[in-house]
Symmetry: C2
Subunit: 186 residues, 2 copies
DNA sequence: CGCGTAAGAGACGTCACGTCTCTAAGGAGA
DNA sequence: TCTCCTTAGAGACGTGACGTCTCTTACGCG
C-alpha cells in the first residue's frame, strides 16, 4: 500500500474536505466523513487542523485563489466595481449560506484581515478611476469605499438564494457611483 | 408542589432561556441547561419549540419588543435614521456575535420577513422627511432605502466588538443622506 | 368526582466530537 | 544494507448534547 505523506497527503485531505463541502454542505461535513473519503484516520486531520472550521477554511483557500490577486481592470470604474462584486457573488453562491453561517459560528477568530482586504481592492479601483478622470478625487470616505462590498456581503449572507445580477447593478448604479460623484450618462 | 401551566409556564421557560443566553452565551446554552434552570423537563421545551434556535428566537421576541413598533420620530431625517441604527446596535451588541452567528447557522428559515421589515421602517421615515420638505422626494430606490440598515447589520455581524457610534454617524452622514439628496448644512 | 391533558423527571439510543493507542510504512543516517 | 524515528492508517474510547420515549402525578374541566 502506497502511503501518502507531506504535501501530497495534505492536498488529498483538502480536496476531500472540499468535495464533502460541495456534495453535502457544511452541516453534513464531519471530520469522520472527510477522513473516510480521504481513506485515512481522523488523527491525520487533527494533526494539521484543530477543528472542522480550520480544515474547511484551509480547504477553501486551497481550492480557490483570493480576489485580491485578481483585481479586475476593465478600463471603467463601473466595470471594475461590477467585476469585484460579481466575483464575490460567484465565490460564495458556490458555497451556499449554511457554510458561511456555520463557519462564522465556529470560527470566532476568522481573520478580520479578510474583511479589510476588500477595502484595499476598492481603494485601488477608485484611485485608477480618479487618474483616468472618471471621478474628481480618489479621496473617498472609508465607509463609502466599503459600502458596495459590505452590502454585497450582506446580500450573500442573508439572501437564501443566489444574488441576482440586478441587485449587483443596483448596488453599483444606485449606491456606489452616486456616492463617488460619478454622474451617469446614457 | 405548585405546577405551572400554559402562559405562566411559557414565560418561565422563555425567561430561563434568556437568562442562560445572557449568562453563558448561545454556544453554552443547551436544552438541558434551560430545562434545569426552569426546573422542568426537556419534553416541556420540545413540546413548544422544535429546537434550540426556535426557543432562543422566541425568547428574544419575548424579551424585547420589535423595532418596528418603536419607530423614532425626532423631527429630523438625520435624527430618525440615527435612532433606528442605534436601536439595532444596542439590540444586538447585547447579544454578542456568537448568538447571531449561531442562530443564523441553525435557523435556515429565519423569517426573511424580519429583514424586509426594516425597509418599511425606513420608507416611513423617508416619507415623513419628504413631507417636511427636508428632501425633494420620497421616491427612493429600495437599495438606497435599505443601505443604512443593511450596512448596520453588516457591522454588527462582522465586527467582533460593539459598533462605535462614529461608524453609525458615518453611515448616516457619508452614505445615506447624500444618497437621498440631503445637502448638509452646518 | 372522575377523566384526560400535560407537567416534571429522567432513561435511552444516537452521533460526532476530540483523544488515545497500536501497528507498520518508508525516509534518513550509519 | 540495516536501524531508527517519525507519522500514516485504523479504530477504540469517553464525553456531551441531541431528540425521543416512558412513567407518574397534578390539576382543570365537565
Amino acid at each position: 500500500m502506497e502511503r501518502r505523506r507531506g504535501a501530497e497527503l495534505e492536498a488529498v485531505l483538502l480536496d476531500a474536505a472540499w468535495a464533502e463541502l460541495m456534495e453535502s454542505g457544511y452541516a453534513q461535513l464531519t471530520m469522520e466523513s472527510v477522513a473516510a473519503r480521504a481513506q485515512t484516520g481522523k488523527q491525520v486531520l487533527y494533526r494539521r487542523w484543530r477543528n472542522r472550521a480550520e480544515l474547511v477554511i484551509a480547504s477553501m483557500r486551497h481550492h480557490a485563489g483570493s480576489i485580491v490577486e485578481n483585481v479586475p481592470d476593465t478600463g471603467s470604474l463601473r466595470g471594475d466595481v461590477l467585476g469585484v462584486l460579481q466575483q464575490m457573488a460567484d465565490r460564495f453562491t458556490q458555497l451556499g449560506p449554511d457554510t458561511i453561517h456555520g463557519l462564522m459560528a465556529e470560527a470566532p477568530d476568522l481573520d478580520p484581515e479578510v474583511y479589510s482586504r476588500m477595502t484595499g481592492v476598492m481603494a485601488a479601483i477608485v484611485k485608477r478611476a480618479a487618474e483616468r478622470g472618471e471621478i474628481a478625487t480618489a479621496d473617498v470616505p472609508v465607509v463609502v469605499l466599503t459600502a458596495p462590498t459590505n452590502l454585497m456581503r450582506h446580500e450573500i449572507f442573508f439572501s437564501h438564494s443566489p444574488v441576482p445580477s440586478s441587485t449587483v447593478t443596483a448596488l453599483v448604479d444606485d449606491v456606489f457611483l452616486p456616492l463617488v460623484g460619478f454622474s451617469r450618462e446614457t
